[in-house]
């Protein structure tokens, strides 16, 4: 179960890194916006002989104050929150030390130092500002846009759509910040969604050295050091099979048995879990990353982790200690498993192992022979529950989820928390951006009002800009989802033995529900912020420089 805590911890780490990136992007925007607003003042300071270093110092002092306040607040909050998290994790992970106070302090002030250094980096453009230009124009260097790619006189778009799209095309640098934040936000939501859905899906069963099946009946196994272990398991499988046949249901019934064995090649050896399928199953029905299933008694497949540890490859001979005897096997395939951080050896069903040394078994797996739909499967599950009232009956995904301690449930909680955080970030960024646009574009808004544009048209114009940027970001996020998930989540799974993962994507959730939720929250905050347009009077055009 500690493996799953590692997934949670790693996911939280990825989310934290993304949040730090987002805050740096927001900081960069804020500094640039402030500098653009104070462009003339900077020009005046330069004109009266204040050096660049001192002007930059004014900004750095401000951000130093803010970041130190943030660091202190963060450190204070980290004590109770950190303790709660550590308490939960240390139940399953052995912690080297539970005294993390110094680490928290270093992290908090390290973050403040990074913020100050980043602020210093962002204010470097002060050096390029010409005092005469700044005093004369009073606007930042982005006062005139680049040549446009689209033209109103040739476009068929409605006026407000055109204005919004044209602003984005012309001022792409300004909107890039938003695109970056919204894209990161989209990824932040969807990566845990896909991870949680994958960990909930039926396909997860193959990552735990089991073959695909429809239902699993939990098995309480009382092992003895006798040959009877195998006989009693097979009897149970036969009984399930015959009960199903009596009800007209044809199914394959099989089970996974486990051993702990030593495997070695030359001087490198390790202890690993070993598996063999018994019942209506052959080694060919399992999933392998490379090579072909072990078909003979003297053949085995080994997991990626075992192969790496003993430096073995397909075609190599390895020695495996089964009970008291050591036998030589040829490796025919490499597979992945998340059992015990990737440990695994698979034998052919033909190999006769020493069943006195069985370490355990998984539940009884049932795979129906007919291609029945979900409704029929649910009906059959109900029958099984009735027949085996003393046992639990699961779908494949449910069985694994139960085995790994309701990881999907934990991730579900994290998923909701991240969604809330991202929605808040999107809304805050939108408010910040729209407010800054209103301040910067006061003249244009007054002009459009004077020309007869209604308040609601101008509010729609501002909201549409955010909407288009958000649409671009969501599309970009969806396009990047697969490669970024691979990059960010695959290493975590690899640590646990899964080297080739295929995410389970719920199209409605990923492509409709979550984007729609993000759209609604963001557009609502854009619309509410743009409401400030009402306070700008058309006559203010005369007071704009």
């Amino acid at each position: 179960m500690y493996i799953m805590d590692m997934i949670t911890a790693a996911l939280l780490l990825i989310v934290s890194i993304c949040l730090i990136l987002i805050s740096l992007v927001i900081l960069r925007f804020t500094i640039h916006f402030t500098m653009s607003e104070e462009y003339r003042e900077i020009g005046v300071m330069k004109a009266v002989g204040i050096s660049n270093r001192k002007i930059r110092g004014l900004y750095i002092v401000k951000y130093f104050g803010i970041s130190v306040t943030g660091a202190v607040a963060g450190f204070v909050c980290s004590v109770p929150f950190g303790n709660v998290m550590l308490e939960k994790i240390s139940k399953n992970i052995i912690m080297v030390s539970d005294k993390t106070g110094w680490l928290n302090l270093i992290c908090a002030f390290g973050t403040a130092a990074v913020v100050v250094a980043f602020s210093y980096f962002c204010t470097r453009s002060i050096k390029r500002i010409s005092p005469i230009e700044a005093i004369r124009n009073g606007e930042g260097d982005e006062s005139y846009a680049k040549k446009g790619l689209i033209h109103l006189n040739r476009s068929r778009l409605p006026v407000l759509c055109f204005l919004a799209l044209n602003d984005i095309v012309r001022g792409f640098r300004t909107f890039f910040t938003m695109i970056l934040i919204f894209t990161l936000g989209t990824l932040l939501i969807l990566i845990p969604v896909n991870t949680a859905n994958t960990l909930e899906s039926d396909k997860l069963i193959v990552w735990f050295s089991m073959a695909e099946c429809d239902h699993v009946i939990s098995e309480e196994l009382f092992l003895s050091s006798s040959e009877d272990n195998l006989r009693s398991l097979k009897d149970k499988e036969d009984s399930v099979k015959s009960v199903l046949r009596d009800r007209g249901i044809e199914a394959k019934v099989f089970q996974e048995i486990m051993f702990r064995m030593n495997i070695s090649k030359n001087n490198r050896k390790m202890s690993s879990l070993a598996f063999q399928g018994i019942g209506d199953i052959t080694a060919e029905e399992y999933v392998y990353l490379e090579g072909s299933a072990p078909q003979r008694k003297s053949e085995v497949a080994i997991s990626h982790t075992v192969a790496e540890n003993i430096d073995a490859a397909i075609g190599d001979d390895v020695e495996i200690k089964d009970g008291e005897t050591v036998k030589t096997y040829t490796v025919t395939a490499i597979f992945q498993t998340m059992n015990n951080m990737g440990e695994g050896i698979r034998f052919s069903e033909k190999e006769e192992l020493d069943y006195r040394y069985m370490a355990g078994c998984f539940g009884i797996q049932i795979r129906y022979q007919d291609d029945c739909g979900k409704e029929e499967k649910d009906r059959r599950k109900a029958i099984l529950k009735e027949l085996y009232a003393e046992n639990k009956v699961y779908d494949a995904g449910e069985y694994i989820n139960d085995m790994i301690g309701d990881m999907a449930g934990t991730l579900g909680g994290i998923k909701r928390l991240i969604l809330l955080v991202v929605l808040c970030i999107n809304m805050l960024v939108t408010v910040l951006m729209v407010k800054s646009f209103l301040a910067r574009e006061k003249g244009e808004i007054a002009l459009l009002k004077a020309a007869g544009f209604q308040n609601i048209s101008l509010i729609i114009w501002q909201t549409l800009r955010i909407g288009i940027v958000l649409l671009m970001s969501v599309i970009l996020g969806l396009l990047l989802l697969a490669p970024v998930s691979k990059l960010a989540v695959e290493p975590i799974f690899q640590m646990m033995g899964a080297y080739s993962i295929e995410f389970d994507v719920e199209p409605f959730e990923v492509y409709v529900a979550y984007p729609l939720l993000v759209f609604l929250a963001t557009l609502l905050s854009a619309f509410a912020s743009a409401w400030g347009i009402k306070r700008i009077s058309a006559s203010e055009i005369s007071s704009i420089e």
């Binding site: 005139y144 006189n153 204005l163 602003d167 459009l448 020309a451 209604q454 048209s457 058309a538 006559s539």
Partner: protein, 216 residues
């Protein structure tokens, strides 16, 4: 006309419905502006009024032609395609002698050209009245002369123009001059139409004397 801070622009913005009024009433095309909602005022400004300002305000993200046709694209006064609107915009630019800057960015043209583009924009919806707040205030003498010639021509074609100016030469081209001090009309001078350049020079002198009498 009037000294700085006398309330010239305030009067202009109040008459055009941009500023709310605290007393009195403004009747425009038979409608009391004080009784109109913001939406109706905006519609009236869009369709029946044109505006020219001292600073040549234009949307920096649009070309000159796009800026000119923008109010027409938003208005439903004249039902036409975007292509026809663009053609009308080009016709106006041609008339004011700036057709060569149609596809230019606003940062690429001179102040005089830009102000003439603003005149085009104010006329694109064929308004009944144009409000001009010191239209020549930011222009050099030559450009100022050109702009005033265009405004006189437009006025001659039947469009009423109400303009605020500090310049006697500009005021001399107007038919009626109001002199405002501290928000009150201190004097009114009806000059009527002028017919020749000589007459214009005489009007300038007469107007100058009148203004001096009022404390200009």
């Amino acid at each position: 006309m009037g000294p700085s801070g006398s309330g010239k622009s305030t009067l202009l913005y109040t008459v055009s419905g941009m500023n709310g009024m605290t007393a009195g009433e403004v009747i425009f095309c038979g409608r009391n502006l004080g009784n109109l909602k913001e939406k109706e005022l905006a519609r009236l400004r869009l369709n029946e009024m044109g505006f020219i300002f001292q600073q040549m305000y234009m949307l920096k993200n649009l070309t000159v032609l796009d800026n000119i046709i923008l109010p027409a694209c938003q208005s439903d006064k004249i039902r036409e395609s975007r292509k026809e609107t663009a053609r009308r915009g080009c016709d106006l630019m041609h008339k004011l002698g700036i057709i060569e800057i149609a596809d230019n960015e606003i940062s690429e043209v001179s102040g005089g050209q830009l102000q003439r583009a603003c005149i085009c924009r104010s006329m694109i919806n064929q308004p009944g009245m144009i409000f001009a707040d010191e239209p020549t205030g930011a222009l050099n003498r030559a450009a100022s002369k050109e702009v005033m010639e265009e405004l006189t021509k437009i006025n001659g074609e039947g469009t009423t123009i109400m303009l605020v100016t500090h310049d006697v030469r500009v005021a001399a081209k107007c038919g009626r001059v109001l002199y405002i001090v501290d928000g009150n009309i201190k004097g009114e001078y009806n000059l009527g139409q002028y017919k020749s350049r000589e007459e214009l020079r005489d009007r300038e002198k007469t107007l100058n004397n009148w203004l001096l009498e009022l404390g200009w």
